[in-house]
């Protein structure tokens, strides 16, 4: 490292104080990409995620369209790279509590939840999880799989350190058990751990806060929340995933049977200004086509129906992919809305319309998968308020200008990436992550006294 004036020939107005260090909120695929691109240019990055480990939504996916790459397989090289990067400082299981200051010198208060495990001592051996007697439904598995009260999100978690869920831990609830403590070979269990608040100083911030799905229980007309065999798209991803609770076997939640007839309902909560959300969630058409194909790969004689309004397959090889679903996998696409879904005996009955034939349709299905609308994560709104950023009517983060400045915000030094700005698929989120990194790198370079991570070569700068 050496200190050289970065842009000798440029007469930029010296921007005030300048800490060439970035904070990234959200360690999903967009946030990780931004972190890697900034860190690989030699600058320090603080990467915050509310979950115990990084990877975000992509870690929950089975395979990805349109190439059917296994999500975990292409993601782990990334999470491992992020986890081991000398310039990336992970702050997982943490949330941003307050931000003060301006571009060049933000002071960020980060609140870390107690893991009740000393991560310095823990080797990630997994004995504690094996021995913990308490099983609970896992959020990561979207309720179709279980975890222990002491848990990591997945065996490939980065960092691979467990946390104790206080709500369900027998010791915290009843004052005895301590099985994890007894079996931990390195004495890492720390029931007395407390919340920690740290302050980080950074020059720029990237918000990559991602998305949530519209809740099933908000769609009772589709059986959401009360029919066990009506699940959402992420739960189906877990069923399809070879690292999921069923190791990739498609089994319906109610009785573990392999469903023979599966109905997918697109636009569940999307494009419905009267009852739900008016906007299109952009990725569900492709997600559904992929899930239909993957289901057929696992249940060769299974029958799939997809209810849709428009098939939105706009991307490289996307339209061809949905054609494959129809032609090679005999997926029946029905253009129309579903009016009601309810349980009858062991079946789930779907009432819908086929607007092409003008007929009413009734399907007795074994499993129904809703492709719910996407929503910004709840924390997004809080962060936006904290930073004085505008959001749209649904809480999505708004850029400085939709066309010309899609990654910048009204607040200098604060940038956006990924699905916190609106629904988008993985390649778009990755491009966003890199793009936000460029905005950060450009500013770091302009700061007058930024140490240049390059050894002396200023040939290019004349």
């Amino acid at each position: 490292m050496q200190t050289v004036p970065k842009c000798g020939i440029l007469n930029y107005v010296a921007e005030q104080a300048s800490i060439p260090r970035a904070l990234i909120v959200g360690a999903g695929i967009a946030g990780m990409q931004a972190a890697l691109d900034i860190a690989n240019a030699g600058y320090d990055v603080v990467l915050v995620d509310r979950l115990p480990s990084i990877g975000g939504r992509m870690a929950q996916l089975s395979e990805t369209f349109p190439t059917l790459d296994c999500a975990q397989c292409i993601l782990t090289p990334r999470t491992v790279e992020v986890g081991h990067h000398e310039h990336i400082h992970l702050r997982t299981y943490s949330e941003v509590e307050a931000v003060e200051g301006e571009v060049g010198d933000f002071r960020v208060r980060i609140h870390r939840h107690p893991a009740y495990v000393d991560w310095e001592k823990c080797t990630g051996c997994g004995f504690c999880q094996e021995k913990c007697p308490r099983k609970v439904l896992s959020d990561f598995e979207r309720g179709v799989g279980a975890r222990k009260a002491i848990y990591t999100l997945s065996p490939q978690a980065v960092p691979n350190k467990p946390v104790i869920d206080r709500e369900h831990c027998i010791f915290f609830q009843r004052g005895k058990c301590r099985a994890c403590e007894r079996f931990c070979p390195v004495g890492a269990i720390a029931f007395d751990q407390e919340d920690v608040v740290v302050e980080e100083r950074v020059g720029a911030i990237v918000l990559a806060t991602g998305y949530d799905l519209y809740g099933l229980s908000r769609m009772p007309e589709y059986g959401g929340g009360h029919v066990p065999d009506v699940i959402d798209a992420l739960a189906f991803e877990r069923l399809l995933s070879s690292s999921g609770p069923t190791t990739g076997q498609v089994q319906r939640p109610s009785d573990g049977q392999v469903p023979r007839e599966v109905v997918f309902v697109q636009c569940a909560g999307s494009r419905d200004p009267e009852k739900h959300l008016p906007y299109c969630s952009k990725v569900c058409c492709m997600v559904t086509a992929k899930q239909a194909i993957l289901y057929r790969h696992r249940v060769h004689d299974g029958q799939v129906y997809v209810f849709y309004i428009d098939i939105r397959a706009a991307g490289k090889r996307y339209d061809e992919f949905t054609q494959r679903a129809m032609e090679d996998e005999n997926v029946v696409y029905l253009r129309g809305k579903v009016s009601r879904i309810f349980r009858q005996g062991g079946k789930v009955i779907v009432w819908g319309a086929d607007t092409l034939s003008g007929q009413q349709v009734r399907i007795a299905a074994d499993l129904v998968v809703l492709a719910p609308a996407m929503l910004p994560r709840p924390a997004t709104h809080r962060l936006a308020r904290m930073l004085g950023l505008p959001v749209d009517a649904y809480g999505w983060l708004l850029p400085l200008d939709a066309n010309m400045h899609p990654l910048e915000t009204v607040r200098p030094g604060v940038f956006l990436a990924g699905a916190g700005t609106g629904p988008m698929d993985i390649p778009e989120a990755v491009a966003h992550g890199s793009g936000a990194a460029a905005e950060v790198l450009k500013r770091f370079a302009r700061w007058p006294d930024t140490p240049l991570p390059v050894g002396g070569d200023t040939e290019g700068k004349e």
């Binding site: 440029l10 695929i29 690989n40 240019a41 397989c73 991307g315 010309m404 629904p423 390649p427 390059v454």
Partner: protein, 590 residues
């Protein structure tokens, strides 16, 4: 005696449900030179890597074989992990027992396990003869070339230059702005395209670190990431910005229309798109009827502020838009969806109704693809506030009759065929790679996909990189995309350039071809055999040479070399023979 460690990964159940990983580990323990074996559920996880590191230290291992997934996944992970213990990373090899064993042989566990054992054995032999290697370090030219002066190229150039690195922007036409300069306004707020663009062009043109070359094309290209040599022809017209730096050499009058050669370290390709030719759609009267226009012609009318028929200058009272004209038609035209046309058409229909309030707009569509913030709502507005009539169906034919057009189509929702009279028809033609991008792809050697768009390095995780190191992609040259997506992607491409330029030097893999000067006779057979142009004859000695930055270690040279003067480091003939002997039954005497 070698001290090799073998580490067998379960990959959860990905490998372990088919391959008996314990047996692989136990069997390899008896292999000569193997000092340690272990199996673990996820070798790539932190505890898995730690297991390898501990074993290297405790058992004093001098080589490692990790039996796991494809080396494309985690070779670098395990090499880095081993390197922290002091072991040379090139003495770490991956035996792929997932993609090449457990996945294709599900249902045959016994055979799969035997194949896994054999696969690991071959890699043990390879490691036994692997040399410790050190990567090459090469200097980086910190100047970027951006090809294409549309919104993608402008954005990428500006970011790179703002970060302090010089950029040469090459534009084929006589002005900057690309397709965006041809647009009237942008969806969904009807912002003036020209105004937004002018600001960015001014920033680029006035930038002291950006050299703009118009009427220019890349005609020659060589070298490798960090050290490309570019030849640009046709330097004729205005040069702006950069002339502030070296006015004496770059004044327009001093430029000759001769090729001009310079070095760059990175390239951004932002060559945009063209519209599929109207003439390809004779059934729609494309190119034959003057009042059948394409969407860019309609934009030109909107820019003028007047919509008039080309044939007679009358204001059209009824306009029909035909979406997917040439798109989504695998049998006759382009198979893919052009992504942006649905929104362009909705915008044009609204704009038309604003200019001609009493006019009627019809749109034929297959699916309405309005995916983006406020996009779906925008199309709804077209239908509800501007009374645009959307008809779901394909148009079969367009015929001219009595100075009007008749559009014959189907409405798949009512199941009826429709005939609409129209004064003007606008075809939303497919977006295709811009003319000349295939030639450019050949010159700079980047891969293109089946439709002629530049191929990204990975469809999910490396969307702004080409398959050629140091060459990045921005905008519609990779696939049709709208302005927000193009700007984001162009910024992403710029990030890759900045990241590269921030490195102190280029690191090149040492597992490349090497020439034994005692054996080489300079016959030159290897030169044409090399697909990467990494081989050349020494200028005066009777010898072949290897450009280590270009060499990919494929081994084609080693195969054609008559006297075995060329070998690929750590994939020598001796190693390959040892690997084969480890598994071929007639020779395995162990």
């Amino acid at each position: 005696m070698a001290r090799i460690g073998v580490f067998v990964c379960h990959c959860g159940l990905n490998i372990a449900s088919t391959v008996d990983v314990g047996r692989v580990s136990r069997t390899l323990r008896d292999c000569p030179g193997v000092a340690f074996t272990a199996d673990y559920k996820y070798m790539c996880s932190d505890p898995g890597q730690m297991l390898i590191q501990l074993a290297i230290t405790e058992h004093n291992l001098d080589g490692v074989v990790v039996a796991a997934c494809s080396p494309a996944m985690h070779e670098s992970t395990f090499r880095k992990a081993a390197a922290t213990t002091g072991l040379n990373p090139y003495r770490v090899e991956i035996a792929n027992i997932r993609e090449q064993v457990s996945w294709p042989h599900q249902g045959a566990p016994e055979e799969a396990t035997r194949k896994a054992i054999d696969t690991v054995r071959t890699l043990v032999e390879k490691v036994r003869y692997d040399e410790p290697l050190t990567p090459f370090k090469l200097p980086i030219v910190r100047r970027a070339l951006v090809v294409g002066g549309g919104i993608a190229g402008l954005t990428a150039a500006l970011i790179i230059a703002d970060a302090g690195y010089p950029v040469t922007l090459v534009e084929r036409s006589d002005r900057l702005g690309g397709r965006m300069a041809q647009l009237s306004s942008l969806y969904v707020n009807f912002d003036d395209s020209g105004d937004l663009l002018a600001e960015r062009i001014a920033a680029v043109s006035g930038h002291p670190l950006i050299q703009v070359l118009t009427n220019a094309e890349v005609t020659g290209f060589g070298g490798y990431v960090g050290n490309f040599t570019v030849q640009v022809s046709g330097l004729r017209s205005q040069v702006s910005g950069y002339s502030n730096l070296k006015p004496e050499t770059l004044k327009p009058e001093t430029l000759k229309p001769a090729p001009h050669t310079f070095d760059v370290g990175a390239v951004v390709l932002a060559t945009g798109f063209d519209l599929y030719a109207r003439e390809n759609l004779p059934e729609y009267g494309g190119g034959r009827y003057p009042d059948v226009v394409d969407s860019l012609q309609f934009e030109a009318m909107l820019r003028e502020g007047e919509v008039r028929r080309p044939s007679d200058g009358r204001v059209p009272g009824e306009v029909v838009w035909v979406q997917c004209a040439g798109s989504r038609d695998p049998s006759l035209h382009r198979p893919y969806c052009s992504k942006i046309c649905c929104m362009v058409v909705a915008k044009q229909a609204i704009a038309y109704r604003r200019v001609v309030p009493e006019g009627q707009a019809y749109v034929f569509y297959i699916d309405i693809r309005s995916q983006g913030r406020g996009y779906d709502e925008f199309v709804q507005r077209a239908m509800e506030e501007f009374d645009v009539v959307y008809l779901r169906g394909k148009v079969a034919r367009i015929v001219e009759q009595d100075a009007r057009l008749e559009v014959w189509g189907a409405d798949t929702l009512s199941g009826k065929s429709v005939r609409l009279g129209a004064d003007l028809v606008v075809l939303a033609l497919a977006a295709v790679p811009s003319a000349g991008s295939d030639a450019l792809a050949r010159v700079v050697r980047v891969a293109t996909d089946e439709s002629g768009f530049f191929s990204e390095a990975h469809p999910k995780l490396r969307p702004v990189e080409s398959l050629t190191a140091g060459i990045y992609l921005a905008g519609a040259a990779q696939f049709p995309k709208d302005i927000p997506e193009t700007v984001a992607q162009a910024s992403g491409a710029a990030a890759k350039v900045l990241q590269l330029f921030a490195q102190p030097e280029m690191v090149a893999e040492p597992t490349v071809a090497a020439v034994d000067e005692r054996l080489c006779v300079g016959c030159g057979l290897c030169v044409p055999a090399c697909p990467y142009e990494a081989r050349a004859l020494h200028p005066w000695r009777k010898l072949a040479t290897v450009n280590v930055a270009l060499c990919q270690g494929c081994g084609a040279c080693a195969v054609v070399c008559r006297n075995k003067a060329t070998t690929v480091r750590n994939l020598t003939t001796g190693q390959v023979l040892a690997m084969m002997e480890a598994v071929l039954p007639m020779t395995s005497g162990q």
